[in-house]
Amino acid sequence: MTIVNASGDVVEQGWTTVESLEGYGPHHGIIVSPAVLLDSFDEADHVSLSHTGVRLSVEDDVSEIAAYVPHLGLIELVFAQFKDGRPYSTALTLRRDYKFTHELRASGDVLPDQAIFLIRSGFSSVDVPDQFTAQEFKKSLMAYSVAYQSAHDSHVSLIDDLRRSTPDVAAE
């Protein structure tokens, strides 16, 4: 499994995806399902939550885990199909409405050619699908140096006039 960050560089994978908590203590860096999160974690236990990630499918409703969100160490949004763009909205909602600031990872069916959309929607890492390489993601991220809209990332240059009217969210 290869994880790239928002610059397209390969980073160490510190997280393990688990089906149940058996054999894992609270400080393991594990990624669980929303059901396990709700069943086994206390929303007030911020320390444990900071070592915990949750993995959401396109059907899962973020509002059900709302109380946990700000304290989670990672949220992974799984793309069912690259054509299904719901996770882009979920990502922005997490960043903007839930003020989630930690690692937001895209996984599942994503294409290198979508990398820039992912990062600009607020994802901070991508689990590179087997048939692609990290380099392809990096190359695609470098395809554009400008954008019209504000977005979550900061490497876009939003210049004058109309573009100025849409300041960068990340700059808050």
Binding site: R96, Y144, S165
Partner: protein
């Protein structure tokens, strides 16, 4: 017109380079067809029956003469010498090769043209009133707001993989010439009681297999809130639009199933969550755009005014042309001139490279270098001095572009149909050609009056048949082409969906049927009544009787 600045140029150049790389990876076999298809579609490149087809965006239907020359050059260099103007204010080239498409797009980018978001499940090229900036009844220039939307929606990170395509249309006039209520979002520029500029927002219109006239979702949206509101609509759609069934994926189905009121409420709550600072459209940005779109001052020239009588004296054929193809301009003494791309028996919307070069020159001589594309597949010279009409008309005649039939029976909208389109059930173009020939007598057409005939080669309804006074839909019945007839659609102003009259016809039958409908109207109409009024008064029954009873 809008002038590209360095950001626009940089982004466009990077898009061209990105696509060149994608094509190369495909040709080298690094991308499979499944992986490549969505990428090429995001850049308007389809694979049709005979070749690749490239759809080039004409933002809100406005072209400069230089852009038109480039389209002509592309038609000559990369295609077989012609292009097809479409109901989406786009142009399509039918005979494109994958291997040279990147060069073509590079050439287009030199005049700020592109194929970005002319296909795919994203926010498509924004369309607008083709009379923008020239019409007397305009509250504000819709191109200003269309350009705001173009920038916001281009390569939008969140809204490029929607459940389905998304089309936005803008009009600044009460007389809707952009069919806004048949779009996913229709925006009508309005002023509230205090005189503040804003929009009436219609959401969830469309054609296809479920034609729906969009309901009003917000009666008054202050102009600065435009993007914030669009953002909210798109987010609600991206989240809740159906993805399990391609035929139920458009926003019209979502709005319909939620009900317009609860949809509006959901949008309002999303809208209120969004930081007003983030997406507000600022006055100084708008005035910058307003300056760009302001037409150079036209000196009112009432002496130049030509009346029908004056022009008929110059040539008997000029009078009817003036009547059907010229529209009053907001400046006295000027006309908005429609160039008909519907010669009798021709292919609706097609123009040859020579014609495009010619039109570009005429735009320079007579219309401040500006050309518009209408969704009815014609072109417009928006600012013509009436004193120039005679010379312009002569030049247009020379180019075979002076057919005096705008808004009349032979001004037919037709999609490419089975002659080109891989989704088609039946041919559209030959039917339109035969109907046009049936009504070849232009005097008779003028006598029949305004009549809007539209043909689609399958239920996708690219030819807007639902919205035609007379609509024709091609279907496949056990391998045979059949044509269904609908009556009572309305594309402009009051939008309405036509109703199917009865059993379908074969190719000969449908041409006869259209003639029967028209002669029935002629026998029923009262003094001064146009087709749609007669039909509204009598209903379909007398037409049905004539069509089916004496068989």
């Amino acid at each position: 017109m809008y002038v590209y600045d360095s950001l626009d140029k940089t982004l466009l150049n990077q898009r061209v380079a990105e696509f060149r790389d994608q094509v190369q990876r495909r040709l080298d076999g690094d991308l499979t067809e499944d992986q490549f298809k969505p990428l090429r579609l995001m850049n308007g490149l389809y694979l049709q029956l005979h070749a690749y087809m490239l759809r080039v965006a004409i933002p809100y239907g406005t072209l400069s003469s230089d852009q038109m020359r480039k389209l002509a050059y592309v038609a000559k260099t990369y295609d077989r010498g012609y292009g097809h103007f479409t109901t989406r204010q786009n142009i399509q080239f039918n005979w494109i090769e994958l291997s040279t498409a990147p060069d073509l797009l590079y050439d287009l980018s030199e005049v700020d043209l592109h194929a970005i978001q002319t296909s795919g499940n994203c926010i498509r090229n924004v369309t607008a009133d083709p009379y923008a900036g020239a019409a007397a009844d305009e509250l504000d220039d819709p191109r200003i707001w269309s350009e705001v939307i173009r920038q916001w929606s281009t390569l939008h990170p969140e809204f490029s993989f929607l459940p389905r395509k998304f089309k936005i249309a803008v009009t600044g006039s009460e007389a809707d010439r952009a069919a806004i209520k048949f779009h996913d979002i229709g925006l009508k520029i309005v002023r509230n009681n205090e005189g503040v500029l804003g929009f009436a927002v219609y959401v969830g219109g469309g054609q296809g297999r479920t034609p729906i006239v969009a309901p009003l979702i917000k009666a008054f949206l202050p102009a600065p809130d435009l993007l914030r509101y669009l953002d909210a609509v798109l987010r609600v759609y991206n989240r809740h639009g159906r993805r399990d069934n391609i035929y139920k994926a458009r926003i019209k189905i979502l709005v319909d199933s939620m009900g317009a009121d609860s949809f509006a409420a959901e949008v309002a709550s999303e809208f209120n969550r969004l930081d007003p600072k983030l997406l507000s459209v600022r006055d100084d940005d708008v005035s910058r755009l307003r300056d760009m779109f302001a037409q150079p001052y036209l000196r009112p020239d009432p002496d130049s005014s030509s009346s029908f009588e004056d022009l008929v004296k110059k040539s008997p054929r000029l009078g009817p042309w003036f009547k059907s193809n010229a529209h009053p301009h907001k400046t006295p003494g000027y006309s908005i001139v429609t160039i008909s791309l519907k010669p009798i028996g021709g292919i609706p919307g097609d123009a040859t490279a020579e014609q495009m070069f010619g039109i570009a020159d005429l735009a320079d001589r007579f219309s401040l270098g500006e050309i518009r594309v209408t969704y009815t597949q014609n072109l417009i010279l928006p600012h013509v001095r009436q004193a120039d009409l005679f010379v312009l008309w002569q030049e247009l005649e020379r180019l075979n572009l002076a057919t005096p039939n705008v808004g009349l029976a032979s001004d037919i909208i037709a999609c490419p149909g089975l002659d080109y389109c891989s989704l088609a059930n039946a041919r559209s173009i030959p039917i339109s050609q035969r109907i046009s020939e049936r009504f070849a007598n232009l005097n008779a057409q003028h006598d029949v009056g305004p009549l809007d005939i539209r043909i689609s080669g399958c239920i996708n309804a690219c030819g807007h048949h639902h919205a035609g006074h007379i609509g024709i839909l091609g279907v496949d019945k056990k391998g045979e082409e059949r044509y269904q007839l609908t009556l009572g659609g309305q594309g402009n102003g009051e939008s309405a969906v036509g109703k199917i009259v009865g059993p379908g016809f074969d190719e000969d039958g449908i041409v006869d049927a259209v003639e029967t409908v028209v002669s029935t109207y002629l026998s029923l109409r009262t003094e001064g009544e146009v087709f749609s009024q007669t039909l509204a008064r009598t209903g379909q029954d007398p037409f049905k009787e004539r069509l089916y009873d004496n068989r």
